[in-house]
């Protein structure tokens, strides 16, 4: 895509910051449909980056490729975990991607409905704990300590997202907004350095959205977790993200600071007449 090249060069990536995720020319075909077409994207430590675009632009597909749900048809996904060596992760299984340190939430909430809120978060700790079948049967002191540690960490996380009072409730009984926050807590339980949020504000009312807005910023600042978020709520996107990537029909059509994006003619055109929340 030669015409987007100039915009790419003006990207204000702060030189001092360490790149965490580097996606180069990622392409994903479904049969004849090219859902993601040579999209490149970088995320640095401490950043909140937004990925926006009209419905069907390929944003979720992009997430699925990065997190290993789909194997991309082309391009590279490189991760540079803090204090570890760089890895090319195309085609890795989702659980390996998560273990490396990138956790996600889902656009259509995918909680473990018939498990309690606490248990949902505890699943997030799975890849950071080691109890095996033998340990579980004998339940020795190591196992007990690990279990208690897990519970403690999960309660702390529930506190951070404001769900402690629901800890023993089934996930399916939570109100919608709370379910979205639970997904965030569950993803955070995997100790990620990058959190990928797919439309976290979808279906939330304005107050909930505002609280979510604060929560995301807090996660980024106090937990040192970088955030890549897909969102249709333009107010939220413009408020909290440092950089924005815009996709349309699988292609990356623009990127830059919120101010750049707001005045970008291509973006305006893409959204014009589109029935979005923008």
């Amino acid at each position: 895509m030669p015409e987007t090249q100039p915009i790419l060069e003006t990207t204000p990536i702060p030189e001092t910051r360490k790149i965490l995720l580097e996606v180069k020319d990622l392409t994903m075909d479904f049969g004849g449909l090219r859902a993601v077409d040579a999209v490149s994207l970088n995320i640095c430590a401490g950043e909140i980056v937004a990925l926006i675009g009209p419905n069907g632009a390929g944003k979720t597909t992009f997430f699925n490729c990065v997190t290993g749900i789909y194997k991309p048809t082309g391009g590279d996904v490189l991760v540079h975990p803090p204090e570890k060596k760089t890895q090319k992760i195309n085609g890795f299984k989702p659980n390996r991607v998560t273990t490396i340190g990138m956790a996600r939430t889902f656009q259509n909430i995918r909680l473990f409905q018939n498990m309690t809120v606490l248990e949902n978060v505890m699943i997030g700790r799975h890849c950071r704990t080691t109890t095996n079948i033998v340990g579980a049967i004998f339940r020795g002191s190591t196992t007990k300590r690990q279990e208690q540690e897990t519970i403690d960490i999960c309660y702390d996380l529930l506190e951070k997202v404001g769900l402690v009072e629901f800890a023993d409730e089934f996930a399916k009984n939570l109100p919608y907004g709370a379910q979205r926050r639970l997904e965030i807590a569950r993803a955070m339980a995997t100790d990620p350095f990058l959190l990928l949020l797919d439309e976290p504000a979808a279906g939330m009312n304005p107050q909930e959205t505002k609280a979510l807005d604060e929560l995301i910023v807090r996660i980024c600042n106090t937990e040192q977790i970088a955030i890549l978020l897909i969102e249709h709520d333009m107010k939220l996107v413009m408020n909290i993200s440092q950089r924005i990537y815009v996709m349309e029909y699988g292609k990356e059509i623009a990127q830059g600071t919120p101010a750049d994006i707001r005045s970008n003619p291509k973006v305006i055109e893409a959204y014009l007449g589109e029935d979005t929340d923008a």
Partner: protein, 408 residues
């Protein structure tokens, strides 16, 4: 209400019409006349009318319930009576003590025949608990579960006839062989779901039986293996009566052992991963759970118990042949799990006892066994999809005091 009566009346008429040729008309070929049994028509009408009314009433109740649940009025949707009883320690403790006493004195009160049936029921309790791990906890359908049972039984049979292995050595080997075959089945079906999973596991069950039937040299084919020794007790000589009693106590211990182990696993990192896999496979792997390992462990662990009690089964019968390991047995165990409540241990025990003992004691019904299973399954799916005893949600111990202070 009037509407209900009217509709039930119509249903009754319809049934009378449908069953007319069967129930009323009878051609007597000897005398060459047609008998008209009008009275049968009345019975059909009354039966259909009453059943239809009961059905309508139950449906209405169910709708009320789900409406209440939708509105979220927790107070209206009380947990079932059984559940409330189980949660109340005042009721729970004495019940447990009485049950324990009855269990202990049971073989002294009844004859060998009944003890023997009880042993069979207990074997199915363990089978149910085992399959409950695969189906109830991990959500992986397995229609060929009886294959692992056969693996256990034949492990003992073969080891005994060829090398004279005793019961106690064969027991763990049988279990491990079951687990091994569980993994062997698990590998090819890691990626399958739903219908495909059902078909492949069904096929696996049939293959196991066919192999046993046709491999004469090792398994003695359809003739089966006879003269398998009963469980030994430090080489003590036992007559049939005491051997049966001994097997009974052995099975009681085995059931307790199974409950203990499955409970431990259920409340562990592994058990939670199994449940997460059942709830949402994609979310589960996206949260860092290794799907292959979790699925294989669920299959292996479920199959382990089948292999283990397979050995006991061979020892109890002293004779095994392929006909003990048909699809019917798989279906039976699956019914136990479904009826008992996916993931609920007490529910599975009750269901196993009911489904095994009922046909034994109500001989009149045993011919209609499969019919009744079918009816029970359909009714369960409609009225209590969560099983007799719904899986209670687990509450975890709170945070350690240290963090609580830190947060206060």
């Amino acid at each position: 209400m009037v509407d209900n009566f009217k509709r039930s009346f119509l249903v009754a008429l319809w049934f009378v019409f449908l069953t007319f040729p069967l129930m009323v008309v009878k051609v007597n070929t000897l005398k060459n006349i047609v008998e008209w049994r009008w009275i049968n028509m009345l019975w059909v009408a009354i039966g259909a009318f009453v059943l239809s009314l009961v059905w309508r009433w139950a449906m209405a109740r169910r709708q009320l319930k789900s409406k209440a649940a939708e509105i979220g009025e927790e107070g209206l949707v009380k947990p079932g009576l059984g559940q409330r009883l189980l949660e109340d320690p005042k009721v729970f403790k004495p019940v447990l003590i009485v049950l324990a006493l009855v269990t202990i004195v049971f073989p002294l009160l009844v004859d060998i025949y009944q003890t023997n049936i009880m042993v069979l029921a207990l074997i199915f309790v363990v089978l149910g608990l085992g399959l409950n791990i695969t189906v109830g906890l991990a959500g992986l359908l397995d229609l060929g579960y009886v294959a692992f049972f056969a693996v256990g039984a034949y492990t003992y049979g073969v080891l005994n006839t060829f090398w004279g292995f005793g019961f106690w050595i064969s027991l763990p080997i049988g279990g491990l062989m079951g687990a091994l075959f569980g993994i062997a089945l698990g590998f090819p079906i890691l990626r399958l779901r739903g219908d495909y999973l059902a078909i492949v596991t069904l096929g696996f069950g049939s293959i196991a039986k066919i192999v046993i039937e046709n491999w004469e040299e090792v398994f003695n084919g359809a003739k089966g293996i006879a003269g398998i020794p009963r469980p030994g007790f430090f080489g003590a000589e036992m007559n049939i009566a005491s051997a049966t009693t001994y097997t009974y106590y052995l099975m009681i211990l085995m059931v307790l052992f199974t409950i203990f182990i499955t409970n431990r696993l259920k409340d562990s990192r592994i058990g939670r991963a199994w449940m997460a896999l059942r709830e949402d496979e994609i979310a589960c792997v996206a949260m860092g759970v290794d799907m292959a390992r979790t699925k294989l462990s669920a299959y292996a662990f479920g199959a382990f118990w089948a292999g283990l009690v397979g050995v006991v089964f061979a020892a109890r019968n002293t004779y095994i042949n392929p006909n003990s390991f048909t699809f019917m047995e798989s279906a039976l165990v699956l019914s136990i799990v479904v009826m008992g409540g996916m993931g609920s241990i007490i529910g599975v025990i009750i269901a196993a006892l009911v489904l095994i003992l009922m046909p034994e004691y109500l001989r009149a019904f045993s011919e209609y066994r499969m019919l009744m299973f079918g009816a029970v399954m359909v009714l369960m799916m409609i009225f209590r999809p969560e099983g007799l005893i719904a899986n209670v949600r687990r509450k975890y111990a709170g945070r350690t005091v240290k963090t609580e202070e830190a947060n206060a």
